[in-house]
C-alpha cells in the first residue's frame, strides 16, 4: 500500500478556515489527509503544539493564516511567521525536514488555492515519506519550543527589528538571525543534555559520546545548566550529573 501521510492543519478562523469552507461550497476536491484544527488566528499557533504534533506522529503540519496585511486582527499572521521561522530552525536541529512544517497564506476567497495548497503539501509530504525522527531528538526540540530564551527572543523580534534594542539601536535582520541561530543551537544542546540526563545520570564524557558532541562543548553547557539549577553534580569518580528536581 502506498504511504498516506498524516497531516495536522491549524487554520485561522477568518481567512484560511473560511477558504477551506469555500473549497467545500465550490465542491473542489482535494486530498483527504489533512485534519484541521480551527484557531482564531494563526498567531495562536504555539510552536510547542506544532512539535507535539510531530511527536505524536504527524508526518506534516500545515499552518495557514490571512495574507500579509490582511490579518483579521492586526499582525497575528506576522507573529505566526516569526514563530514558524524559529520552529523551522528548531526542526532542523532535530533532523526533521523543515518542509514538513508548511506556512501558507490563504484568504477567505481562495477556495481553489486552499485545495491546491492542501494537494501540493500532501504530495510533498508523501514524497518525503513517513517521519522517521529520533524520539529523543523530537523531545529535545519540543522542550526547545518551550524554552524561555527562545520564546522571549522570537517574541521580541518585531520590536528589535523595528524599534531597536534597549539602547534604541535597531537590530539588523541578519544580526538577529545569527543571534537566534546561536541561541537555538545552544539551547538544543542543553535540552539534549537534559533529555538524556532525565533517563540516567552521566559524566561529561559519557554525555559527549552519547550526543556526539565534543566534551568541551558539553562541559560549557553543563556549567550553564548548573548555574540555572537545572542539573547538579553527583560526587564520585567520574563526576556525574543528574537533573535537578523542579
Amino acid at each position: 500500500m502506498t504511504f498516506s501521510p498524516r497531516i495536522v492543519g491549524f487554520m485561522c478562523n477568518w481567512c484560511s478556515y473560511a477558504g477551506a469552507d469555500l473549497a467545500g461550497i465550490s465542491r473542489i476536491k482535494y486530498a483527504p489527509n489533512l485534519r484541521i484544527i480551527r484557531v482564531l488566528c494563526s498567531g495562536r499557533v504555539d510552536p510547542y503544539v506544532v512539535l507535539t504534533a510531530f511527536q505524536k506522529g504527524a508526518d506534516g503540519v500545515l499552518v495557514a493564516g490571512c495574507h500579509p496585511g490582511d490579518c483579521h486582527y492586526i499582525s497575528g499572521n506576522y507573529q505566526a511567521e516569526k514563530k514558524m521561522k524559529a520552529t523551522w530552525k528548531i526542526l532542523s536541529k532535530a533532523g526533521i525536514d523543515q518542509e514538513r512544517l508548511g506556512l501558507e497564506w490563504i484568504s477567505a476567497a481562495e477556495g481553489q488555492r486552499f485545495a491546491d495548497v492542501v494537494n501540493s503539501f500532501t504530495q510533498l509530504i508523501t514524497e518525503l515519506g513517513p517521519l522517521q525522527a529520533d524520539p529523543q531528538k523530537i523531545a529535545s526540540a519540543k522542550e526547545e519550543t518551550a524554552d524561555f530564551r527562545i520564546r522571549w527572543l522570537v517574541g521580541r523580534e518585531k520590536d528589535l527589528l523595528e524599534e531597536g534594542n534597549v539602547f534604541g539601536e535597531p537590530v539588523e535582520e541578519a544580526v538577529f538571525e545569527t543571534l537566534l541561530d546561536d541561541v537555538v543551537s545552544a539551547q538544543y544542546i542543553r535540552n539534549s543534555i537534559l533529555t538524556v540526563l532525565k533517563e540516567q545520570s552521566m559524566s561529561a564524557k559519557e554525555l559527549a559520546e552519547t550526543l556526539e558532541i565534543p566534551s568541551h562543548v558539553v562541559v560549557e553547557h553543563l556549567i550553564h545548566l548548573r548555574r540555572g539549577q537545572k542539573v547538579h553534580m553527583v560526587e564520585g569518580h567520574p563526576i556525574r550529573y543528574e537533573v535537578s528536581a523542579w
Partner: protein, 660 residues
C-alpha cells in the same frame, strides 16, 4: 466546572444527502458512541431543523448532558444556531463543539471510506476538545449609540437617512467635496427614465440639514479601532479655504481665478477653475479651493479670489482638521470606480475623439453638460447618425482582470440608446453585446421597447476599432447569431465600461480588517443570508462596495444595512465574545512580552501584591491568542482555545488508540 466525568451528546447530521451521500453517517454515530464520556450519539437528517434541535434539547434534559458535539456543516454556518440550542436548554453555549464534516469532508472528498474515516477522526478530535471546555459568561459592554456611514453616494445617503430618521445620530464621511456620488453624474435612470438628480438632490439636501446627521465632506478615514458598539474613528478633513457661512455662491471668485482645469464632475469634458463648486446641486453647497492647483497655494501671490470676494469668504489660513468620532456601528458605502477604458487599447479611447465611455455619454446628454444636453461627435460637433455601443468593456473579460458581470451596463446602454433614439429619430443605433442581461422589475420590458424602436442588437464583441481621416470609426465584428462578418462605419462609439472596486478600497479594507472577494469587492458575511453584514461585527455593507448593483438594489440594501445597524444601536449594551486571554498569575513573572506583542493594548503588566503580573483588559481583548502562543512562561492562555484543548485535538487526531 463540575469535576465529574463529562456527559457528552454527539449528533451526526446527514444534511439530506449533502453529507449522507459520501460519509457513512450511521457508522460515524456508532463510532462516536464508543468514545469516552459519550452518553448519547445520534444521527439526524437535518440537525439544524426544529426537530433536530429539539432532540438535542430533550437529551440535555433527559440525559443530563454536560457537553454537546454536532457534526454537520461549518461552525461559520451554524455554530451560533447550536450554541443557542444549548443555551435555551440551560447548557452553557461554550460547552458545545462543532465538527465540520460537510464543507471540509463530504463536499471535498469522493472516496466514501476515506471520507468516513476522516469524519470519525474529526468527531474524535471534537470529543477530545469538548471534554476540556469550560463554561464562559458573556460580558456586557455599553453601546455608543451613533453610526458612521463611509461614503456619500446613493448607498450612503439612503442608509444615513434611514438611520437618522430612526433617531440615530449619524456621521457621514465623504472623500469628495460633495455627496452625490456617481448617481449625481447620471442624466436619467433606467428603466423609468427619471431624471437622476431630480430624485437624488432632495435626499442630498435632507442629509445636509437633518438634525441627526453630521456631514463631513472632503475628508479621509485615517484610523479605525475598537469593536461593535464602540468604534473609535479618526477622520481628517481637508481644508476648503472657503468659509461656509460667508460664501454666497456668487461665483466672482471662479470668474477671477486664472487657473482652468478639467472638471471631474463632467468627466473632463468641461473646465472648472481652481476655486470651484463641484456641481450646482452640491451638498454642502459652497465653494472650495483645489489646493493642488491654486496659484497662491502652490506658488504664492495671486489671491484674486480673496481680493474680489464681496463677502470675505476666502480663508487661506484654514488647515486640515482631525477629529475623533465614537460610534457603535459603521456602514461602508464607498461604491465603485469605472473601468479605465484607456486600458482597452484596441478600442482607442483617449486616442480616437469619437470613442467615449458610458459615463462620458451621461455628461454629454445632461442639460448641465458641455453641450447642454446635445449629443455630438466630439471631433467636429456634428450630430451623430450612426452610433454604436460596445458592451462588457472591462467586464466578463479575464484578460482585463474581471471575470464578473458588472450587472448594470446592459440596462445603462438600453437607456442611453433609448435617449438617443428620442433625440435622433432617424439615427442608426447598434449595440454590440455578449449577452443582454436585463433581470429587474420592468427591465426586460424596457429592453423590448428599445428593440421595437429600432435599436439593433448584434451579438458579438468587436475585436478592435479603427479610425479614418475624418475620425469615423470602423468596426468589424462577427454576428455570432448569423455567423456573418459585419463591417460598420460609425460616427460615435460608446464603451459600456464595467464597475471596479475603487483603488482606495484596499487601504480601507485593511483599516477595518475586512476580507475582499477575488473580484476585489468587500466580502459579505454570507452571500445569501447576510449580504449586508461583514466578517466584522458592527460593520455593515451597502451598494457597489459589495458588488456592482443598480440603484433599486442599492437602496434596498441600504435599508437592510441601516436596519441591522439600528438593531445594534438601539440596544443599551451588547454582549461581548468571552473568548479572551486569561493569565495564570502563579506562572506569570511579569516579563511583559505579552504586552509588547498585543496589537490591541489588551494585556498590561501591573504591580500586584505578588509582584509584577500581566492582566487582561477584557473589553479590549479580541481573543486572537498571540499572547498565549508567545508567553515564555506559558502563563497566558486563551479561553476556548487553551493549550490543553489544542493538544487534546492534536493527540486525538494522531493517536486514536489513546483514550482521552
Amino acid at each position: 466546572m463540575s469535576k465529574s466525568e463529562p456527559r457528552i451528546g454527539v449528533y451526526v447530521c446527514h444534511c439530506g444527502l449533502n453529507i449522507g451521500a459520501v460519509v457513512d453517517v450511521a457508522a460515524v454515530a456508532q463510532y462516536a458512541q464508543t468514545l469516552p464520556g459519550v452518553v448519547v450519539s445520534r444521527e439526524s437528517t437535518y440537525t439544524c431543523s426544529d426537530n433536530g434541535q429539539r432532540s438535542i434539547q430533550e437529551d440535555i434534559e433527559n440525559h443530563n448532558l454536560s457537553r454537546v458535539v454536532v457534526a454537520s456543516c461549518s461552525p461559520r454556518m451554524h455554530g451560533d444556531t447550536f450554541m443557542k440550542t444549548c443555551e435555551t436548554a440551560g447548557l452553557n453555549p461554550y460547552l458545545f463543539e462543532m465538527v465540520n464534516i460537510r464543507e471540509q469532508c463530504s463536499w471535498v472528498h469522493t472516496d466514501k471510506e476515506q471520507a468516513t474515516e476522516k469524519a470519525k477522526d474529526l468527531v474524535r478530535m471534537a470529543v477530545a476538545k469538548v471534554r476540556l471546555l469550560e463554561p464562559l459568561e458573556k460580558q456586557k459592554s455599553a453601546v455608543n449609540k451613533a453610526a458612521l456611514v463611509i461614503g456619500g453616494g446613493v448607498a450612503g445617503i439612503f442608509s444615513a437617512l434611514y438611520l437618522a430618521n430612526a433617531g440615530i445620530k449619524t456621521y457621514v464621511v465623504e472623500k469628495k467635496p460633495s455627496i452625490g456620488g456617481h448617481m449625481a453624474q447620471l442624466d436619467k435612470t433606467f428603466p423609468t427614465l427619471d431624471c437622476s438628480l431630480c430624485i437624488l438632490s432632495p435626499r442630498m439636501a435632507d442629509i445636509g440639514k437633518h438634525e441627526n446627521i453630521e456631514l463631513i465632506t472632503y475628508a479621509d478615514i485615517e484610523n479605525i479601532s475598537g469593536y461593535a458598539g464602540n468604534f473609535q474613528v479618526t477622520v481628517k478633513s481637508n481644508p476648503r479655504y472657503v468659509i461656509k457661512e460667508n460664501c454666497r455662491l456668487c461665483g466672482v471668485c471662479a470668474e477671477k481665478c486664472p487657473i482652468s482645469l478639467p472638471d471631474e464632475f463632467n468627466m473632463g469634458l468641461k473646465k472648472r477653475k481652481a476655486v470651484y463648486i463641484p456641481f450646482p446641486q452640491a451638498v454642502p453647497n459652497y465653494y472650495l479651493i483645489d489646493a493642488g492647483h491654486c496659484l497662491h497655494i502652490t506658488k504664492g501671490g495671486c489671491m484674486l479670489c480673496q481680493k474680489n470676494c464681496p463677502n470675505d469668504a476666502i480663508d487661506f489660513e484654514e488647515t486640515e482638521a482631525v477629529r475623533e468620532l465614537n460610534v457603535g456601528a459603521i456602514i461602508v458605502a464607498t461604491g465603485f470606480e469605472l473601468y479605465d477604458a484607456t486600458q482597452k487599447k484596441e478600442y482607442g479611447y483617449g486616442r480616437y475623439p469619437n470613442v467615449i465611455t458610458n459615463m462620458d455619454f451621461e455628461r454629454w446628454v445632461s442639460a448641465d453638460g458641455p453641450t447642454h444636453g446635445k449629443v455630438v461627435r466630439p471631433s467636429d460637433g456634428a450630430p451623430p447618425q450612426r452610433i454604436g455601443f460596445i458592451q462588457c468593456v472591462g467586464s466578463r473579460d479575464e484578460k482585463e482582470g474581471a471575470v464578473y458581470c458588472s450587472r448594470i451596463c446592459c440596462m445603462a446602454t438600453v437607456k442611453q440608446a433609448t435617449m438617443l433614439r428620442e433625440k435622433y429619430p432617424s439615427a442608426e443605433i447598434y449595440v454590440y453585446y455578449t449577452d443582454m442581461r436585463t433581470p429587474g422589475k420592468g427591465f426586460e420590458e424596457f429592453y423590448q421597447r428599445g428593440r421595437e424602436h429600432g435599436i439593433v442588437f448584434i451579438r458579438g464583441k468587436p475585436g478592435e476599432i479603427e479610425e479614418d481621416d475624418n475620425h469615423n470609426l470602423l468596426i468589424v465584428s462577427e454576428d455570432t447569431d448569423s455567423g456573418l462578418i459585419l463591417r460598420n462605419t460609425l460616427d460615435l462609439v460608446v464603451l459600456a465600461c464595467g464597475l471596479r472596486p475603487p483603488e482606495a478600497l484596499e487601504e480601507l479594507a485593511q483599516k477595518l480588517h475586512l476580507s475582499r472577494s477575488p473580484d476585489g469587492f468587500i466580502m459579505e458575511a454570507h452571500p445569501k443570508l447576510r449580504p449586508a453584514e461583514t466578517s466584522i461585527s458592527g460593520v455593515f455593507l451597502t451598494g457597489c462596495v459589495q458588488f456592482p448593483k443598480d440603484i433599486p438594489d442599492t437602496v434596498a440594501q441600504s435599508g437592510g444595512a441601516a436596519a441591522m445597524a439600528a438593531a445594534l444601536l438601539t440596544k443599551d449594551e451588547i454582549e461581548l465574545e468571552p473568548v479572551r486571554a486569561a493569565v495564570d498569575e502563579e506562572l506569570c513573572i511579569g516579563c511583559g512580552l505579552c504586552e509588547e506583542n498585543c496589537d490591541y493594548g489588551a494585556i498590561e503588566v501591573k504591580k500586584t501584591e505578588e509582584g509584577m503580573k500581566a492582566q487582561v483588559i477584557e473589553v479590549a481583548c479580541q481573543g486572537c491568542g498571540v499572547c498565549a502562543a508567545s508567553c515564555p512562561q506559558k502563563a497566558v492562555t486563551v479561553r476556548h482555545f487553551t493549550d490543553g484543548q489544542l493538544l487534546a485535538q492534536v493527540t486525538a487526531a494522531l493517536e486514536p488508540e489513546v483514550i482521552v
